[in-house]
Symmetry: C2
Subunit: 258 residues, 2 copies
Amino acid sequence: MEAAEQPLAPFVRDLRRHAALADEDIAAIASLPVRLRKLDPGQYIIREGDAPTHCCILVEGYVIRQKLTGEGARQIMALCIPGDGIDFQNIFLDVSDHAVQSLTAATVADIPRDELQDLVLKNAAIGAAVLQATLVEASILREWVVNVGRRDARARIAHVLCEFAVRLEARGLATDHSFELPMTQEQLADATGLTSVHVNRVLKGLEAEGLIWRRRRNIQFVDWRALQQVGDFSRAYLHIPAEDHVPVRGLIDAPDFG
Amino acid sequence: MEAAEQPLAPFVRDLRRHAALADEDIAAIASLPVRLRKLDPGQYIIREGDAPTHCCILVEGYVIRQKLTGEGARQIMALCIPGDGIDFQNIFLDVSDHAVQSLTAATVADIPRDELQDLVLKNAAIGAAVLQATLVEASILREWVVNVGRRDARARIAHVLCEFAVRLEARGLATDHSFELPMTQEQLADATGLTSVHVNRVLKGLEAEGLIWRRRRNIQFVDWRALQQVGDFSRAYLHIPAEDHVPVRGLIDAPDFG
DNA sequence: CGTACGTTTGATCTTTCTCAATAATGGTGG
DNA sequence: CCACCATTATTGAGAAAGATCAAACGTACG
């Protein structure tokens, strides 16, 4: 059930899609001391205020970034999928400014923080690759601000669904037009700045309109075009490179930004 | 009125606060071909969808990052102050995913993008410094998501005021407890995901409660402690290094994350 | 001195939240 | 395999924060 041979393979593949890495750079990454760790659902990988000792990469399962307000409300601001770096945020910052928690059972690859620091400080190409991954994540974060700040509930939820599906497909993790949403409606509410009650009503509405079909957590896109429209979704901000692509499954079609 | 000698000085100073840069690294940055450019208020530095040719650093004035939704609503997701890198987002990404627009008259230092790419790809220390600056920006972005997603209007606005003041002070750009907000109420609304009408009422309320005092765009913090409380503000996420500090002026006091 | 932009205010409307209860669902121990 | 429990999902009714619409007021500036 787990990629035992090359747990970092999806991560490295993604790095290479964005940045030019020589074989020796890859070898340097491969020679990092990696320890795999299994997580139960809901387990914290790091909490706000913690001093990180490891940087980890998500190998399997799903994980979120979140913060709590003083009033105890939770805001989820990122959803990590297998192959994502989880802890680069903390590679050079000494105190974590947010928490990372597993949504499902998950496997992460731990890399000692100082080892990774050394590598990045010695190898400019790898540093640049990490920078690029970070820039893409920042872009997704900016779109998340837009989503939560300026779209209505229907669009917010549709947008999250679209984004998640496209990112999964880009990593080859979803078959076309269907996937398992690894979140409860309450978590989806925390991701969109809504309440779970309202999320429920909106999902029901999207289903009634014939845009999606759902059974339990499984969601299928009945009308992908329309859902994109409703969610004001355009994949440009994901900065998914076109070349060296995983097989196109249907969701990924026309380029944006005409 | 302009730092003609060392336009990049505040930027480099900030980089050094986070990262260890040797004198030769500094020299390498200083030898980059920099061209100063003056901007009128409201001018675009880059638009969504543009292919960036330069990376620029804000020398003087204020600048925002923004995106538009399909319905034409605007969301501001970052406020840049002098010394901030504006275009590192685009150093390795070929299409800008958001727009950058000046709020006030401003001066930016343009650096050709490929020169900066070369430098970062050759010099790991500089690459790491840029990465760190990017990580701090991402942290601010995450807090922005929380602000817009989970705080009520009063807290959102108070939070933006607090953040802006603390960042200005950290760069030595504000005298204690008073500054000029470089935004109209409409822009503040676009930053907080509200309408300008409601922003107006909230500001009025904050003033009536004796938390702030304002005259035109100038805002003074009458009760800094209380405003922080109202805005659920805690400066930890700004990752402002404690050592080698600009003179403390009053706003920056106790460490957070107890 | 008039025009444009930004601010302020009032009245009304809508989306979304809150509170509260009920129904599914999945997992667990017997 | 079944009863029970804890989550999670669903539904309804009422409340509230914030949006919308519309107008008046200031102030800067050409």
